[in-house]
């Protein structure tokens, strides 16, 4: 959904190393190259990977980049961050599910209060 498609912005490439699996033990890392423009977020990159390469990659978000829904929280190069605000940069970026919560799939953890679940 990047708005910047016109002139003046240079396309670069990041390599996202993403945890794929249904728990912390049962899974593996997969790497994806993603083209980006200056200012694009990690979430922009993940959405592009889902659309063009790997539709089954599990991520979670709602507000996209307004910084209100908090759903896209993940571990980015070892730090807990919102993927919608963290910027892509050239080179390797490692993405893991947030620690201390059960992993549901890939980067999605069971973050809901028990009262909001079945």
């Amino acid at each position: 959904m990047s708005a910047s498609t016109g002139s003046g912005s240079s396309l670069r490439s990041a390599r996202l190393k993403i945890w794929r699996g249904t728990s912390r033990e049962n899974g593996r890392y997969e790497e994806f190259d993603v083209a980006f423009e200056d200012g694009d977020s990690v979430l922009d990159g993940l959405v592009r990977i889902r659309m063009r390469q790997q539709p089954d990659l599990a991520i979670r978000f709602s507000c996209f980049n307004a910084n209100v829904c908090k759903e896209c929280t993940m571990l980015i190069d070892g730090e807990v961050q919102y993927a919608c605000i963290a910027k892509l940069h050239p080179g390797l970026i490692q993405l893991d599910p947030v620690p201390n919560l059960p992993v549901l799939r890939d980067l999605v953890t069971d973050s809901l209060s028990h009262k909001e679940r079945f």
């Binding site: 200012g39 694009d40 539709p55 209100v68 919608c84 909001e116």
Partner: protein, 564 residues
């Protein structure tokens, strides 16, 4: 075979934004047990939480005001098509809801004299809009409602539940069907009344201010249940949507409140003021309504005088840094993180899909024509006619949500739906089971189809329309709905299967998109947010509402007072 999760309640509310949360609170305080579901997270999904600034209510705190004046402004902005009963309900109900939220600890910004600070927003004749600093109005309202909802023992919240169908029997709503996103387990909720508060369909446009969950599913679900739609062709494009440079961490609607507050200048690609070329859209008073401003920006770019990314400039360079700092506070830091320095450079803006004026046809009880089925918030059509005033969306969510919840609770008490046989939901449940794993690995992904729909809607069903582009869109949408969606590949995974969620978004969202394209094709005039390049004038013969229903899978349109 998947085990079905089976629940029962008095009032089922679908959609955990402002309207849905208020509906659940109102249902509970009128004696009902309520279940409140959201595809994302209750209280965090939806559009309300993203609202930054204005919430209109004739409180008369900053200057004398009256709900009747608010109503007159709303009707004028609606270009002759507001449902006056709904508009009056919105304007008369807003002050009470704002005061109530204050008792629920929403800290409305206050002036030095201690009174609630009300500011002027475009199209309003009085200083009427309340807000929470800085740009946190929607977030503050949702936090307060979330708090009320979570402490209410009569409300059960269920997040990550995707609603797929309302279940009807003899033409009446008796509950709903969906699935748990976490496990793909089918869910049946038997209910004596159902309130749909699932927002609009702005996600179906490439450039949008929408969160990821507003795919028009409420529109599709209501149509399938037998409800009618009204004036769906009116979809508001927010004039000053952020375009470039890439900015994250702030909603793309940031610039309009900032422009109004500080007096930002809109300039074309040559650095010239241009609003004075477009009649109504004068540059000085910031009173221009959204439809007129969108028109001016679009036409300026079309004339070849756009900015490098195909928009126009919004400049604050004439404003001293200290004034920017005082007005924007912590937001300046977010701009900095995005390499935006307003003292040195303008930003580029362009209209962006923002809000659906049309929607499910309801009366002032928020009841659709299907007994037991209610709609509220953005999904309820008609209050705003052909163009919504800045600041009217939040009070609409609060007032209509409250009304829907209260009436649904009363109705539920009277028409207790008896425990029904699960066979009534058999076909809908079977669909959920059948779609998971369909064509796995063979065919387009629902996500890729969604990308195409967004591009198509943006290119052909945007604010400026022609019969040709709309017909092309219709053909493409029809093919997607009838051929490509059934052939789409959905993996067989149970746990958090995003393709399954997107498939059902498209199942209902494509019907919504078709309904919008058809409505726009039928309205052969230009009015408010609906501009036809092939019918550029407003035509008094079309000063009437268009209704749509679904009959045997086909959309049927009729204009008020005209034979179908």
């Amino acid at each position: 075979m998947d085990e079905v999760i089976e629940l029962a309640t008095d009032v089922l509310v679908a959609g955990g934004g402002g309207a849905g949360m208020f509906a659940a609170i109102a249902a509970a305080r009128n004696g009902a047990k309520a279940i409140l579901i959201d595809k994302n997270v209750v209280g965090r999904g939806g559009a309300s939480i993203m609202a930054q600034m204005t919430c209109a209510a004739a409180l008369g705190e900053t200057e004398p005001d009256d709900p009747q004046l608010h109503l007159a402004d709303t009707l004028a902005a609606g270009r002759g098509l507001c449902n006056e009963g709904l508009a009056a309900l919105l304007c008369e109900g807003a002050p009470k809801r704002i005061r109530e939220l204050e008792t629920w600890k929403v800290n409305w910004a206050r002036a030095d004299n201690g009174r609630i600070n009300q500011v002027l927003a475009p199209g309003h004749s009085r200083k009427r809009c309340v807000y929470v600093d800085f740009l946190s109005t929607g977030a503050a309202i949702c936090a307060a409602l979330r708090n009320k909802v979570s402490r209410n023992p009569d409300i059960r919240r269920l997040s990550n539940v995707s609603l797929t169908d309302v279940v009807t029997r003899d033409g009446e709503a008796i509950g709903a069907v969906g699935f748990d996103v976490g496990s793909a387990a089918p869910v049946v909720i038997k209910a004596s009344a159902v309130v749909l508060a699932m927002g609009g369909m702005t996600k179906m446009f490439k450039r949008t201010t929408s969160p990821n969950n507003l795919a028009g599913e409420g529109v599709g679900i209501a149509l399938r249940a037998g409800a009618r739609l009204v004036d769906l062709e009116f979809l508001q494009f927010y004039p000053n949507g952020h375009l470039a440079p890439r900015m994250v961490g702030l909603d793309p609607t940031t610039w309009e409140p900032t422009r109004v507050k500080l007096g930002g200048r809109l300039l074309n690609g040559k650095g010239e003021e241009f609003l004075d070329r477009y009649g109504e859209a004068q540059g000085e008073g910031y009173s221009t309504t959204r439809d007129a401003l969108t028109y001016a920006i679009y036409k300026e770019v079309e004339s070849g005088r756009g900015s490098p990314h195909g928009g126009v400039y919004l400049s604050f360079q004439h404003i001293p840094e200290s004034a920017l700092q005082a007005a924007l506070g912590p937001v300046i830091e977010i701009f900095k993180r995005n390499n935006i320095d307003l003292t040195r450079q303008p930003v580029e803006v362009f209209p962006i899909a923002h809000y659906q004026m049309g929607g499910v046809e309801v009366d002032t009880e928020m009841a659709s024509c299907v007994p037991g089925l209610y709609a509220a918030g953005e999904l309820a059509g008609g209050a705003n006619g052909a163009n919504r005033l800045s600041g009217n969306a939040l009070p609409e969510a609060l007032v209509f949500g409250e009304r829907a919840g209260e009436r649904a609770a009363r109705s539920a008490a009277l028409r207790k739906v008896p425990d029904w046989d699960m066979k009534a939901a058999g076909a809908q449940l079977e669909l959920i089971r059948a779609v998971r794993g369909q064509n796995a690995g063979h065919g387009p992904s629902p996500g890729a189809l969604m990308s195409e729909v967004k591009e198509l809607m943006w290119q052909k069903v945007g604010p400026f329309r022609t019969a040709q582009a709309l017909s092309e869109a219709q053909d493409r949408l029809c093919s997607m709905r009838e051929r490509e969606l059934p052939a789409a590949a959905v993996s067989g995974e149970r746990t958090h299967n995003a393709s399954l969620v997107e498939w059902f978004e498209l199942r209902n969202g494509l019907v919504a998109a078709q309904a919008l394209a058809l409505s726009a094709l039928n309205r052969r005039e230009s009015r408010g947010a609906h501009q036809r390049d092939d019918f550029p004038a407003t035509n008094v013969q079309y000063e009437k509402s268009q209704r749509l229903s679904l009959a045997n899978g086909r959309l049927v349109s009729s204009f008020e007072g005209l034979p179908p």
